[in-house]
């Protein structure tokens, strides 16, 4: 029954064909408009702003729209004679089907590129659909490696993928553990059961034993889940040194709060892309549950004044500066740069411009952009830890603002 909204009703059909006809008519007249004024660059901004992932989706949309407003306010895309961005906001409704439907609409409306997707499953589906129309697609977050290994020419991922994240996370985990005198030997993984969580769990299960950790148990759960008591009971029974959660925001918070409630205190909670582990919202709302949680995740460059300025502006709006915000902000800047170098809104030219991008004006600690097979080579995560109601970077050393506290001191 929940699929009904996606079904095409007679009215929707009429509306979309009417839109399509208008768009087509507009397209035919485009040269005339181009001569008259600098045309707007129509781009698709796709996020799951409703459904289970709505919070992350809304944060992503926030980052993208701030970037678009910034570019437009500063005089648009200079290389196109000050053409303004005209965003078409799409809601993937937290499902791959929803993402596909929006890509179809965006294509019909004549966008020149799409940014977003957020969840891996949505990115996989939406970029594939976009590929059918040779529509450039910039993945904002989606970390599953197959997003960029399918040979799709239109798909570019600005952020790091699983492989790099997992490797960094494991290297850093070993470093932190060694530094503390190797107190952690056993691990339990709690993951959500879609592409992201299950993929990560599989990866960890193969890699952790090679690095001297024993995986006691791997517990999957669906999204959404509103009850973690039994999962926490299992953790209590296994009594692992480390708990590694891999899930989205709501479930992450619930798991951490349930562990606190059931007084389960492992030596460390170490997440890889923890949905909430490095979220200011979580730290502010539940400081006790969040304390000492470590995360290997997307993080802005704290030494970049633009990143700090955006942080202040987002917080002044009463919003939280989560990774979705600065990842999407950076992706829009990246796309604006590519459109500028492409010299117009031709899809193939934008794709080529993205492929050859050396853009470095973003907010992330990645260095200049360099895409190989659609993956940005400099992209890497950092390690953070919640300490004294704030989020500190603990690794890599050149960005670190605090030393890791591990194992967690007794209560």
């Amino acid at each position: 029954m929940s699929r009904w909204p996606f079904r095409l009703s007679r009215r929707k059909f009429l509306r979309s064909t009417a839109l399509g006809a208008t768009a087509a008519a507009g397209f035919l007249h485009a040269p005339a408009i181009l001569r008259a004024q600098s045309a707007a660059a129509k781009i698709g901004v796709l996020h799951p702003v409703s459904g289970a992932l709505s919070y992350s989706g809304q944060q992503g949309r926030l980052g993208a729209t701030i970037a678009i407003d910034d570019i437009n306010a500063a005089g648009g895309i200079k290389a196109l004679g000050g053409a303004k961005f005209d965003p078409m906001l799409g809601d993937a409704q937290s499902t791959p089907d929803g993402g596909n439907a929006e890509v179809e609409k965006m294509n019909a409306a004549g966008v020149c590129a799409i940014v977003g997707g957020y969840a891996s499953a949505i990115c996989l589906a939406a970029s594939q659909t976009a590929a059918r129309y040779d529509l450039p697609y910039v993945v904002d977050v989606g970390v599953v490696d197959s997003i960029v290994t399918r040979g799709l020419k239109n798909t570019f991922r600005f952020g790091p993928g699983f492989g790099v994240i997992a490797k960094t996370a494991l290297d850093n985990l070993v470093a932190i553990n060694d530094q503390a005198g190797k107190p952690a030997k056993t691990v339990m993984i709690v993951h959500e059961d879609s592409a992201f969580g299950a993929g990560l769990a599989k990866l960890l299960n193969t890699q952790l034993p090679d690095r001297g950790f024993q995986v006691l148990e791997t517990v999957p759960h669906p999204t959404p889940t509103r009850e973690f008591e039994n999962v926490v009971l299992k953790i209590k029974a296994q009594n692992p040194d480390l708990v590694i959660p891999a899930n989205y925001y709501n479930e992450y918070v619930l798991l951490a709060r349930t562990m606190q409630q059931q007084r389960v205190r492992p030596k460390g909670i170490y997440s890889v892309l923890g949905g909430a582990a490095s979220s200011y919202k979580f730290v502010k709302e539940f400081p006790e549950a969040a304390q000492y949680i470590m995360d290997c995740n997307h993080w802005f460059d704290p030494k970049n004044p633009k990143a700090m300025d955006l942080k202040k502006r987002v917080e002044d709006k009463g919003q939280f500066y989560t990774y979705e915000v600065y990842m999407n902000y950076s992706c829009i800047l990246l796309l604006a740069d590519a459109i500028g170098r492409a010299g117009g809104t031709d899809r193939a030219k934008i794709t080529d411009a993205l492929a050859g991008s050396t853009f470095s004006g973003h907010l992330m600690p990645y260095g200049p952009t360099k895409f190989i097979d659609g993956q940005n080579q400099g992209a890497a995560p950092v390690n953070t830890q919640v300490l004294a109601n704030d989020i500190q970077v603990i690794l890599p050393a050149q960005f670190a603002s605090a030393r890791p506290v591990f194992p967690i001191p007794p209560a």
Binding site: P220, H221, R226, E229, N230, V231, Q261
Partner: protein, 290 residues
């Protein structure tokens, strides 16, 4: 794995969750036992009540447990009106009519909710939602204990109502022998309405007990109704003690099997038990007494 440190809390958690299942099933079993209507709109009513409790909290800051005081009579009235003016007249007393009308109602309610509130999953944050009470080795969340106590109280109250009040006796009379009851001067259409109203009121209470620890979206009720149907068959169609015990059993089975089989597969245990009961005792644990 079988250590009491795990098993005892798992069983207690199961009992707490099962109590709410039982309350949803109570409404369903009553409507089935008396009206012989398989109420497909039960889940949609539950979702609607959850939305009501959700918005009472987010918009007006009213605690869900206080909302129950208003919502219970409101849903009783709604249920009464639905049966008296929509389901009853539209179904023409035919089983398949009831089936289609309640199914239609479910579609209308769910899609109205979807239209107004989108597919978003929403939760509320009560300040005491994560407070715990220690029961032996288990730390049980306060809202679950409240829910458990409330369900037991409602079940006892409902049982007393059915056995000792004139209306309750009339309901039982209609359930046993409709024509005879009518000949004795019982207003059958009114009793049908009352029964449906009581069923809807149960759902309203269940929603207020659920919302502190659960989420709501336009299809949130469906999960509970599938389980509630199982409980009704398990406990015996129309039996109040059957629904209560069946609910508690299902809660424990789900909780314990989710420990062994994992969160995603936990419900398999329920349906294995269900099939086993159907094979061994088709009339359910408590037969079809009322």
């Amino acid at each position: 794995m079988l250590s009491p440190v795990i098993l005892v809390p798992a069983v207690i958690n199961g009992l707490m969750a099962g109590a709410v299942y039982a309350l949803v099933a109570l409404g369903l079993t009553l409507i089935y036992g008396v009206l012989h209507i398989i109420n497909f709109a039960h889940g949609a009513l539950l979702t609607a009540a959850m939305f009501a409790a959700f918005f009472a909290f987010t918009l007006f800051g009213i605690d869900p447990y206080l909302t129950a005081i208003v919502l219970t009579p409101l849903f009783f009235g709604t249920g009464y009106a639905l049966q008296r003016f929509i389901i009853g007249p539209a179904a023409h007393g035919e089983d398949r009519g009831f089936l289609l009308v309640t199914l239609g109602l479910a579609v209308v309610i769910e899609n109205t909710l979807l239209y107004f509130f989108r597919a978003d999953t929403r939760t509320i944050n009560l300040p005491y939602a994560f407070d715990v009470i220690e029961i032996g080795p288990a730390f049980v969340a306060v809202p679950r204990v409240i829910a458990f106590a409330a369900v037991i109280a409602v079940a006892i109250g409902l049982w007393a109502f059915m056995h000792w009040t004139d209306t309750g006796k009339a309901i039982r009379a209609v359930a046993k022998e409709k024509l005879g009851a009518e000949l004795c001067g019982i207003n059958v259409a009114h009793i049908y309405g009352v029964t449906f109203g009581v069923g809807a009121a149960c759902v309203a209470i269940a929603a207020c007990l659920l919302i502190p620890t659960y989420y709501v979206n336009p299809t949130a009720g469906e999960a509970f109704v599938l389980i509630a149907f199982t409980i009704v068959v398990l406990g015996g169609m129309g039996s109040i003690p059957g629904a209560l015990l069946g609910g508690l059993c299902v809660g424990v089975v789900e909780s314990v099997s989710s420990i062994f089989l994992g969160q995603s597969l936990g419900q398999i245990g329920i349906f294995i038990m269900f099939i086993a009961v159907l094979l061994a005792r088709p009339s359910g644990l408590f037969g079809a007494r009322l």
